[in-house]
């Protein structure tokens, strides 16, 4: 057990189906209550769907795993009701230092981008994240969470998936229309369905240690290449919550994991790194080998894979849980539309396409970082060391140093759900169709808030105006008409000046013009935002027919 954290123990309740012997029939099951399964359950619940969530365990993530949650993940967590808790408990860091052999070659200060609600990242042990998500899920009666319920078999027949679930009191059967497999990297469901996952294992091992520092120690990220206390390898030191520091020692493939884990071998390594005088206590040690792989497709009929079950990356760049949360975000609204009969099942193919695009970007970036950190050949090591040598004095060298590229969301520029810009509509910003929307400070009814918290979970037409009083009746009528029909679009006026908009349309004030600048907006500019806060389309003028056809495109109804 850890000294700084008490693992919650979630209550197991005897499922009523065991006594009744009846098959439980539900529309939707999520298997796995890790961060991604919990996120999926919360997303689907917010879409108005009842969720049965099964997990074989009765607590949160054990030991040291995910640490770093990036801005996009924090924005998504806001919608699951845990953004504030994660940011309050998590620690922010801005200064990163890079060392090569004996000396510091450079440092950087990631000053948070102004005018964003959430910082670039916070560091927090994964068990806290899961604890908050589990509490948020437990507070919603539409989510039935069954701990210590293990799925032991799965069969797909036609439109039904049949699960056999094992508990300490015996077995029962569940029939469901949809199964979301969030059962982690080893995914028993993937295996039971005989599905493949392709990729490579990195021929390297890492020792992960969590230590509690007894004295003040800076909130910084330190990365060493080839340090004197651990020659030939790399070491990463990262601050987490509760004065716990995470240390990753690269061990090399030949290391014996059992030997390396022993305290008598770990402690001297850490002492050598910190200098003997600093007091610390060892909280957790384990040895990992990393995989980089993904499934060929993420949806197989009515079984859909998300999170580590669908894809795994090396942890350089913190892309595992961060991307899993984006899977949940991408899937929830699509599944809701399909279940409601408002979109064809083909919309779920776009879940697979878009998240594979993102997974490939994550795999590419984490593989590049791994190749830089652990060179595979002599010439690769020579180049790496040359870069580090040049980085000390030259900016171009620093740009080449790659000790992990922090998780950022994919710009889904090639998605078939996007409506390309019209020929005459010129834009000069990053908010292209497929882009994850940029945040901005806004005021609603005199209260300060953030743009990203005002949209999401449904389609939104963001209409930019200068003076809201000047909107003519035709514009107001056109905007109001968007909320009618099968797939409603929420109209949202965002104006530079204060004032009121007629017709009960939601209205935000962009007092300093930050949103207008980030979206390169002029009065009359319209952005169609998807329920997952990606841009679907944009225009220089309001045209209801164009918005409707872009919604049709974004929902595979075109």
């Amino acid at each position: 057990m850890l000294k700084t954290y008490n693992y919650p123990k979630f209550e197991y309740r005897r499922p009523p189906e065991i006594a009744s012997g009846k098959t439980l029939k539900v529309p939707l099951v999520v298997v796995g209550a890790g961060p991604v399964g919990l996120a999926a359950a919360l997303d689907l619940q917010q879409q108005g769907l009842p969720v049965l969530l099964l997990d074989e365990d009765d607590t949160v993530s054990i030991g040291s795993r995910g640490v770093c949650y990036a801005k996009r993940a924090l924005e998504i967590l806001d919608r699951y009701g845990v953004g504030d808790a994660v940011c309050a408990k998590g620690v922010s860091w801005n200064v990163g230092r890079t060392f090569f052999r004996e000396e510091e070659v450079y440092n950087f200060n990631l000053v948070p981008e102004p005018d964003h609600h959430r910082p670039g990242m916070v560091n927090l042990q994964q068990y806290y994240l899961e604890e908050y998500l589990a509490a948020s899920a437990a507070a919603r009666p539409e989510i039935e969470l069954r701990w210590r319920n293990k799925v032991v078999s799965v069969a797909q027949n036609g439109r039904t998936v049949t699960l056999k679930v094992e508990t300490e009191d015996g077995f029962y059967t569940v029939e469901t229309d949809w199964l979301i497999a969030a059962d982690g990297a080893r995914s028993p469901i993937r295996r039971m369905l005989g599905l493949e996952v392709e990729g490579k294992i990195f021929m390297d091992r890492f020792l992960i240690a969590d230590v509690v520092m007894k004295a003040e120690f800076p909130s910084e990220r330190w990365f060493w290449f080839d340090p004197p206390f651990h020659p030939g390898q790399s070491v990463l030191l990262h601050r987490q919550t509760d004065s716990v520091y995470r240390i990753d020692f690269q061990l090399g493939w030949d290391a014996d994991p059992e030997q390396a884990k022993k305290p008598e071998n770990v402690l001297p390594r850490i002492k050598a790194m910190l200098g003997d005088e600093r007091e610390f206590e060892l909280e957790w040690v384990s040895v990992y080998t990393f995989q980089c792989r993904r499934m060929g497709r993420f949806n197989h009929g009515n079984v859909i894979f998300i999170g580590d079950a669908a894809h795994q990356v090396s942890p350089f760049g913190a892309r595992g849980a961060n991307s899993g949360l984006q899977d949940a975000d991408n899937l929830g609204w699509k599944l809701k539309l399909v279940i409601s009969g408002l979109a064809p099942a083909a919309l779920l193919d776009s879940y697979s396409e878009e998240r594979i695009y993102a997974a490939d970007e994550n795999l590419l970036n984490s593989t590049r970082s791994t190749d830089f950190i652990t060179p595979k050949s002599k010439v690769s090591r020579t180049f790496r060391n040359a870069v580090l040598g040049l980085a000390k004095d030259h900016a171009f060298g620093r740009a080449l140093v790659n000790s992990g590229r922090l998780s950022v969301p994919a710009f889904l520029t090639t998605s078939s759900l996007n409506t390309p810009d019209c020929a005459g509509d010129a834009f000069s910003c990053r908010m292209v169709p497929g882009a994850p929307m940029d945040d901005a400070p806004v005021v609603e009814n005199g209260v300060d808030g953030w743009l990203h918290n005002k949209v999401g979970q449904r389609f939104t037409a963001l209409y930019f105006a200068d003076d809201p009083q000047q909107l003519d009746a035709a514009t107001i009528e056109a905007l109001s008409s968007l909320s009618c029909g099968g797939i409603a679009v929420q109209p949202l006026v965002i104006s530079r000046r204060e004032g009121s908009v007629g017709g009960n349309i939601q209205h935000l004030v962009d007092a300093r013009g930050v949103a207008a600048r980030r979206y390169d907006a002029q009065p009359g500019t319209v952005y169609l935002l998807r329920p997952d806060q990606h841009v679907a389309a944009r225009w220089r003028g309001l045209d209801v027919a164009k918005i409707k056809s872009a919604v049709a495109k974004a929902t595979c109804n075109a």
Partner: protein, 74 residues
Amino acid sequence: MALNLNPNFSEAGKRYFNAYTPADDFYELLINTHRDLSDEQSELLNARLILLLANHVGDIGTLREALKIAREGV
């Protein structure tokens, strides 16, 4: 022409959404070009590459500066 020591990679027709991407694109290309070569072959590849790039730069003053910086760090 002064030697440019600031980040300077880009590819025509490509739009970058992250500042780190162009340098990482180049570095991967460089390392991949060496894939499956022996150390000796890699050395030869590097020599050929330097000659190609040096001719492309052309300006001997610039090359002198680059050679000097390269030598100082060895």
